[in-house]
Amino acid sequence: MSSKSQVLRERTTLLHEELLSGSTVASAQLAELLLVNVSKFLKSTFFNVKDEHIIATSVEDAILTYLRNPDEFDPERGSLLSYIITAAKWRLLSAISRKREKNVELESHENVSIYSGEPDLPIEDVLIAEDEDKRTFKRLRELLPDSRDQAMLEAMMDGERITDTYAAILGISDQPQDVKRQEVKRNKDRIKIVIRRKFDRNQNHG
């Protein structure tokens, strides 16, 4: 972990402890710090999402949920920044799925490979290194041009295991559960095969 990310992690951890111990200013300090860093991360991850309002709302709601119940965050399970980013991402993905169900066209995002390559990479490092990952974004866009496939991949990379999340992305939420399960599995397998084939082809030609 870089020194910058270490500082960020230590700072948020300390403020969390102060918040729990009754500090009146820790909530404001955390709000400011989290707002900037979580927004920065989500905006780069979901840089093709045109509606900035849903990103802002997801970040705000994730931060507020934490500030209202800070004791629900367990520092043993990861950093605070990672916790808030995960919560904000789920809110955003859920909002995107709802918009998709309303046939609103949204381009998806591509830098999921940050997680595929280094699943244990601390969010703080990801934030600081994000500017170096543009090439990865471009490669994934080329491999999976379909925005629905990209959203599926994003959820897969995030370790999402709930069938209904994928069903929402695929627009089959109203189908029976067994049909949803089969369709989700079929699409997941298809995406894996597409990526593997295209990636191998690119490697051979590259």
Binding site: A28, S39, A56, V59
Partner: protein, 145 residues
């Protein structure tokens, strides 16, 4: 993230916590209502930039009966650069307002906007004394011989 975008998000957060009495955003929203100010006027009165107003609003509200009240107000004052006496006055005024309006049960608080606290306190005292007077005869009647 540019400055305007950050300020918009800060405003969004403040707007969402203004109904949560645990935050200073709630105190500030009540104070604006009591005084009939808008936010820009209050920022000017306290000498606050938009950033500092956000900081102030996102602080936790010091509890009036807590032994650490003064220290908590000082911490907020240091962090937001608002005069500690001014800040204490705002919190106390809102606490008093809530205490008074809490006694005027079922009332819509926004109708008290612009009415001075002494006037509200007088109204509360009058209602309380009328209730006491009305209660006495019933107590006498229901008392067994």
């Amino acid at each position: 993230m540019d400055r305007t975008e950050l300020e918009n998000m800060m405003s969004g957060l403040v707007e969402k916590v203004k109904d949560d009495r645990r935050f200073m955003a709630h105190v500030l929203a009540r104070y604006l209502m009591i005084e009939g100010f808008d936010q820009a006027t209050l920022e000017g009165k306290l000498g606050l930039s938009a950033d500092l107003y956000f900081r102030l609003a996102m602080c936790k509200r010091p509890e009036k009966d807590s032994p650490g009240f003064a220290q908590a107000v000082e911490s907020i004052s240091d962090y937001t650069m608002v005069d500690v006496i001014e800040l204490s006055h705002i919190i106390r005024q809102v606490d008093s307002f809530e205490s008074i309006t809490g006694c005027l049960a079922g009332a819509d608080e926004t109708q008290f906007s612009g009415i001075s606290l002494p006037a509200l306190a007088a109204a509360r005292d009058r209602i309380n004394s009328e209730e006491t007077e009305n209660d006495d005869p019933e107590e006498t009647e229901s008392r067994p011989d």
